[in-house]
Amino acid sequence: MKISAIITLKKDVLDPQGKVIHQTLEGMNFKNVNEVRQGKYFEIDVNENDPKKAKEIVEDMCEKLLANLVIENYKIIEIQ
Protein backbone atom coordinates (compact mmCIF):
# COMPACT_ATOMS: atom_id res chain seq x y z
CA MET A 1 0.00 0.00 0.00
CA LYS A 2 1.33 3.41 -0.99
CA ILE A 3 1.23 6.19 1.57
CA SER A 4 2.28 9.78 0.95
CA ALA A 5 3.60 12.14 3.56
CA ILE A 6 4.21 15.86 3.30
CA ILE A 7 6.70 17.54 5.62
CA THR A 8 6.35 21.29 6.03
CA LEU A 9 8.23 23.85 8.10
CA LYS A 10 6.35 25.16 11.12
CA LYS A 11 4.90 28.63 10.86
CA ASP A 12 7.55 30.49 12.89
CA VAL A 13 10.57 28.85 11.27
CA LEU A 14 12.50 30.96 8.79
CA ASP A 15 12.41 29.52 5.26
CA PRO A 16 15.03 31.41 3.23
CA GLN A 17 14.63 29.05 0.25
CA GLY A 18 10.90 29.74 0.17
CA LYS A 19 11.66 33.47 0.27
CA VAL A 20 14.04 33.25 -2.68
CA ILE A 21 11.50 31.25 -4.68
CA HIS A 22 8.88 33.86 -3.81
CA GLN A 23 11.14 36.69 -5.01
CA THR A 24 11.97 34.78 -8.19
CA LEU A 25 8.30 34.20 -8.92
CA GLU A 26 7.65 37.92 -8.50
CA GLY A 27 10.54 38.64 -10.84
CA MET A 28 8.83 36.40 -13.38
CA ASN A 29 5.69 38.53 -13.08
CA PHE A 30 3.71 36.19 -10.84
CA LYS A 31 2.35 39.10 -8.83
CA ASN A 32 -0.29 37.43 -6.68
CA VAL A 33 1.97 35.47 -4.35
CA ASN A 34 1.63 36.15 -0.62
CA GLU A 35 4.15 33.63 0.62
CA VAL A 36 6.06 30.50 -0.46
CA ARG A 37 7.07 27.77 1.97
CA GLN A 38 9.19 24.89 0.75
CA GLY A 39 8.67 21.37 2.09
CA LYS A 40 9.31 17.70 1.36
CA TYR A 41 7.13 15.00 -0.15
CA PHE A 42 7.56 11.25 0.37
CA GLU A 43 5.86 8.30 -1.30
CA ILE A 44 6.31 5.17 0.74
CA ASP A 45 5.22 1.73 -0.37
CA VAL A 46 4.45 -0.13 2.83
CA ASN A 47 4.06 -3.88 2.92
CA GLU A 48 0.72 -3.66 4.72
CA ASN A 49 -2.81 -3.93 3.33
CA ASP A 50 -4.75 -2.40 6.20
CA PRO A 51 -4.92 1.36 5.43
CA LYS A 52 -5.14 2.29 9.11
CA LYS A 53 -2.09 0.23 10.03
CA ALA A 54 -0.13 1.45 7.00
CA LYS A 55 -0.87 5.02 7.96
CA GLU A 56 0.24 4.39 11.53
CA ILE A 57 3.53 2.93 10.30
CA VAL A 58 4.26 6.01 8.18
CA GLU A 59 3.26 8.29 11.06
CA ASP A 60 5.81 6.50 13.21
CA MET A 61 8.42 7.00 10.46
CA CYS A 62 7.60 10.72 10.35
CA GLU A 63 7.96 11.04 14.11
CA LYS A 64 11.25 9.14 14.28
CA LEU A 65 13.09 10.08 11.08
CA LEU A 66 11.32 11.84 8.22
CA ALA A 67 10.40 15.00 10.15
CA ASN A 68 12.26 16.91 12.83
CA LEU A 69 9.38 17.92 15.08
CA VAL A 70 11.23 20.93 16.49
CA ILE A 71 10.84 22.70 13.15
CA GLU A 72 8.59 20.57 10.97
CA ASN A 73 5.03 19.27 10.80
CA TYR A 74 3.95 16.23 8.85
CA LYS A 75 0.73 15.30 7.16
CA ILE A 76 -0.30 11.94 5.71
CA ILE A 77 -2.16 13.02 2.63
CA GLU A 78 -2.95 10.05 0.46
CA ILE A 79 -3.68 6.39 0.71
CA GLN A 80 -3.74 4.22 -2.40
Binding site: V13, L14, P16, V20, L65, L66, N68, V70, I71
Partner: protein, 227 residues
Protein backbone atom coordinates in the same frame (compact mmCIF):
# COMPACT_ATOMS: atom_id res chain seq x y z
CA UNK B 1 43.74 9.77 27.59
CA UNK B 2 41.79 7.81 25.00
CA UNK B 3 39.66 9.42 22.34
CA UNK B 4 37.54 8.02 19.52
CA UNK B 5 36.63 9.81 16.31
CA UNK B 6 33.64 8.36 14.47
CA UNK B 7 33.89 8.21 10.69
CA UNK B 8 30.60 8.24 8.78
CA UNK B 9 30.36 7.87 5.01
CA UNK B 10 30.95 11.48 3.92
CA UNK B 11 32.85 12.66 7.01
CA UNK B 12 35.78 14.78 5.85
CA UNK B 13 37.21 16.36 9.01
CA UNK B 14 37.76 13.05 10.78
CA UNK B 15 41.47 12.86 9.91
CA UNK B 16 42.05 16.53 10.81
CA UNK B 17 40.52 15.77 14.19
CA UNK B 18 42.70 12.67 14.52
CA UNK B 19 45.82 14.79 13.81
CA UNK B 20 44.75 17.45 16.31
CA UNK B 21 43.94 14.99 19.11
CA UNK B 22 47.20 13.09 18.65
CA UNK B 23 49.25 16.30 18.44
CA UNK B 24 48.13 17.23 21.96
CA UNK B 25 48.58 13.82 23.50
CA UNK B 26 45.34 11.88 23.06
CA UNK B 27 45.58 8.23 22.08
CA UNK B 28 43.04 8.37 19.32
CA UNK B 29 41.17 5.60 17.54
CA UNK B 30 39.12 5.96 14.38
CA UNK B 31 35.78 4.18 14.71
CA UNK B 32 33.65 3.19 11.72
CA UNK B 33 29.94 4.12 11.78
CA UNK B 34 28.91 0.50 11.34
CA UNK B 35 30.85 -0.79 14.34
CA UNK B 36 28.54 -2.03 17.08
CA UNK B 37 30.49 -0.77 20.10
CA UNK B 38 32.75 2.12 21.05
CA UNK B 39 36.25 1.23 22.20
CA UNK B 40 37.04 2.38 25.73
CA UNK B 41 37.17 6.17 25.48
CA UNK B 42 37.48 9.28 27.63
CA UNK B 43 36.25 11.45 24.75
CA UNK B 44 34.18 10.71 21.65
CA UNK B 45 34.25 13.14 18.72
CA UNK B 46 31.70 13.35 15.91
CA UNK B 47 33.66 15.15 13.19
CA UNK B 48 32.67 17.59 10.47
CA UNK B 49 31.79 16.72 6.92
CA UNK B 50 28.73 15.71 4.96
CA UNK B 51 27.66 12.42 6.50
CA UNK B 52 25.41 10.47 4.12
CA UNK B 53 25.57 13.36 1.65
CA UNK B 54 23.41 15.51 3.97
CA UNK B 55 20.41 13.50 2.71
CA UNK B 56 17.00 14.15 4.30
CA UNK B 57 18.35 16.66 6.88
CA UNK B 58 22.01 17.18 7.76
CA UNK B 59 23.02 14.61 10.35
CA UNK B 60 19.65 12.83 10.43
CA UNK B 61 20.77 9.58 8.81
CA UNK B 62 24.05 9.46 10.74
CA UNK B 63 22.14 9.93 13.99
CA UNK B 64 20.46 6.55 13.37
CA UNK B 65 23.61 4.66 12.38
CA UNK B 66 24.75 1.58 14.29
CA UNK B 67 27.55 3.13 16.37
CA UNK B 68 25.33 6.00 17.52
CA UNK B 69 23.39 3.89 19.99
CA UNK B 70 26.66 3.17 21.73
CA UNK B 71 27.61 6.90 21.56
CA UNK B 72 24.21 7.88 23.00
CA UNK B 73 24.59 5.38 25.85
CA UNK B 74 28.12 6.69 26.50
CA UNK B 75 26.82 10.28 26.63
CA UNK B 76 23.90 9.35 28.88
CA UNK B 77 26.27 7.70 31.34
CA UNK B 78 28.24 10.96 31.57
CA UNK B 79 30.93 10.35 28.90
CA UNK B 80 32.31 13.36 27.01
CA UNK B 81 30.93 13.64 23.48
CA UNK B 82 31.90 16.55 21.25
CA UNK B 83 30.30 17.21 17.86
CA UNK B 84 31.92 19.69 15.48
CA UNK B 85 30.00 21.13 12.51
CA UNK B 86 28.31 18.08 10.92
CA UNK B 87 28.96 16.40 14.28
CA UNK B 88 26.86 19.15 15.91
CA UNK B 89 24.13 18.52 13.34
CA UNK B 90 24.23 14.81 14.23
CA UNK B 91 24.02 15.63 17.95
CA UNK B 92 20.89 17.75 17.56
CA UNK B 93 19.30 14.96 15.51
CA UNK B 94 19.95 12.48 18.33
CA UNK B 95 18.35 14.89 20.79
CA UNK B 96 21.45 14.86 23.02
CA UNK B 97 21.56 18.66 22.68
CA UNK B 98 18.45 20.77 22.08
CA UNK B 99 17.51 22.69 18.93
CA UNK B 100 18.20 22.24 15.22
CA UNK B 101 20.54 23.68 12.59
CA UNK B 102 18.77 25.29 9.66
CA UNK B 103 20.08 26.46 6.30
CA UNK B 104 22.21 29.62 6.65
CA UNK B 105 20.06 32.73 6.61
CA UNK B 106 21.54 34.15 3.38
CA UNK B 107 21.68 30.74 1.65
CA UNK B 108 25.44 30.87 1.21
CA UNK B 109 28.01 28.28 2.16
CA UNK B 110 30.17 30.17 4.65
CA UNK B 111 33.89 29.42 4.90
CA UNK B 112 35.86 31.90 7.00
CA UNK B 113 37.43 32.63 10.36
CA UNK B 114 35.13 33.88 13.11
CA UNK B 115 35.49 34.99 16.70
CA UNK B 116 33.53 33.26 19.39
CA UNK B 117 33.03 34.13 23.04
CA UNK B 118 32.78 31.50 25.75
CA UNK B 119 29.62 31.90 27.76
CA UNK B 120 30.51 29.87 30.78
CA UNK B 121 33.50 27.80 31.79
CA UNK B 122 31.70 25.54 34.20
CA UNK B 123 32.18 22.48 31.98
CA UNK B 124 34.95 20.03 31.11
CA UNK B 125 35.57 21.64 27.70
CA UNK B 126 36.33 25.23 28.68
CA UNK B 127 37.18 25.02 32.39
CA UNK B 128 40.59 26.64 33.14
CA UNK B 129 40.92 28.42 29.78
CA UNK B 130 42.52 31.78 30.44
CA UNK B 131 40.87 33.80 27.71
CA UNK B 132 37.24 34.17 26.64
CA UNK B 133 37.48 35.08 22.96
CA UNK B 134 38.74 32.56 20.43
CA UNK B 135 39.32 32.68 16.71
CA UNK B 136 38.09 29.52 15.02
CA UNK B 137 37.19 28.56 11.48
CA UNK B 138 33.70 27.83 10.18
CA UNK B 139 32.70 26.06 6.96
CA UNK B 140 29.04 25.17 6.68
CA UNK B 141 25.79 25.53 4.80
CA UNK B 142 23.46 24.60 7.65
CA UNK B 143 24.71 26.31 10.80
CA UNK B 144 21.78 28.54 11.56
CA UNK B 145 20.96 27.48 15.12
CA UNK B 146 17.27 27.49 15.92
CA UNK B 147 15.16 26.35 18.85
CA UNK B 148 11.70 27.02 20.24
CA UNK B 149 11.15 29.82 22.73
CA UNK B 150 10.61 27.29 25.51
CA UNK B 151 13.86 25.54 24.62
CA UNK B 152 15.71 28.86 24.52
CA UNK B 153 14.47 29.70 28.00
CA UNK B 154 15.54 26.31 29.28
CA UNK B 155 18.95 26.62 27.56
CA UNK B 156 19.53 30.02 29.19
CA UNK B 157 18.22 28.94 32.59
CA UNK B 158 20.60 25.97 32.61
CA UNK B 159 23.62 27.90 31.23
CA UNK B 160 23.78 25.61 28.22
CA UNK B 161 25.08 28.12 25.68
CA UNK B 162 28.72 27.18 25.08
CA UNK B 163 29.82 29.91 22.67
CA UNK B 164 28.43 32.94 20.86
CA UNK B 165 29.58 34.49 17.57
CA UNK B 166 31.17 37.87 18.32
CA UNK B 167 33.79 40.31 17.02
CA UNK B 168 37.44 40.39 18.10
CA UNK B 169 36.49 42.47 21.14
CA UNK B 170 33.88 39.97 22.24
CA UNK B 171 30.87 42.06 21.25
CA UNK B 172 27.93 39.75 20.59
CA UNK B 173 25.82 41.56 18.01
CA UNK B 174 23.77 40.67 14.95
CA UNK B 175 26.38 42.09 12.55
CA UNK B 176 28.87 39.47 13.77
CA UNK B 177 26.37 36.65 13.28
CA UNK B 178 27.50 34.80 10.14
CA UNK B 179 24.52 32.52 9.57
CA UNK B 180 21.41 33.86 11.32
CA UNK B 181 21.71 31.72 14.45
CA UNK B 182 19.25 32.65 17.16
CA UNK B 183 21.00 34.96 19.72
CA UNK B 184 24.35 34.41 17.89
CA UNK B 185 24.60 30.92 19.34
CA UNK B 186 27.54 28.97 17.87
CA UNK B 187 27.66 26.07 20.30
CA UNK B 188 25.46 24.37 22.87
CA UNK B 189 25.98 22.01 25.79
CA UNK B 190 23.54 19.47 27.16
CA UNK B 191 22.07 20.06 30.60
CA UNK B 192 24.71 17.90 32.28
CA UNK B 193 27.52 19.71 30.34
CA UNK B 194 29.23 16.52 29.13
CA UNK B 195 27.99 16.85 25.52
CA UNK B 196 29.16 19.80 23.41
CA UNK B 197 28.02 20.65 19.90
CA UNK B 198 29.51 23.58 18.01
CA UNK B 199 29.80 24.76 14.42
CA UNK B 200 33.38 26.18 14.57
CA UNK B 201 36.35 23.87 13.94
CA UNK B 202 39.03 24.08 16.65
CA UNK B 203 40.99 21.34 14.82
CA UNK B 204 41.68 23.81 12.01
CA UNK B 205 43.51 26.16 14.38
CA UNK B 206 46.39 24.08 15.65
CA UNK B 207 49.33 25.34 13.62
CA UNK B 208 50.86 28.81 13.89
CA UNK B 209 52.20 28.60 10.31
CA UNK B 210 48.90 27.64 8.69
CA UNK B 211 46.21 29.20 10.84
CA UNK B 212 46.23 30.32 14.42
CA UNK B 213 46.84 28.63 17.72
CA UNK B 214 43.47 29.05 19.41
CA UNK B 215 42.60 25.44 18.65
CA UNK B 216 45.87 24.37 20.29
CA UNK B 217 44.85 26.19 23.47
CA UNK B 218 41.49 24.43 23.37
CA UNK B 219 42.88 20.89 22.89
CA UNK B 220 45.74 21.28 25.41
CA UNK B 221 43.29 22.52 27.99
CA UNK B 222 40.77 19.77 27.18
CA UNK B 223 43.40 17.10 27.70
CA UNK B 224 44.39 18.61 31.05
CA UNK B 225 40.77 18.82 32.12
CA UNK B 226 40.14 15.17 31.33
CA UNK B 227 43.35 13.84 32.96
Amino acid sequence: MKSSVITFPGSNCDRDMDVALKKFGFKNKMVWHNDPELPKSDLVVLPGGFSYGDYLRCGSVASKSKIMQSVINFAKSGGLVMGICNGFQILVETGLVPGVLLRNKYLEFICKNVFVKLDNKDNPYFKNLEKDIFEFHIAHNEGNYFCTEDQLKEIKDNNQVAIYYCNNDGKIEEEFNPNGSIKNIAGILNKEKNVLGMMPHPERMIDSCLSGEDGSLFFKNLLNNIK
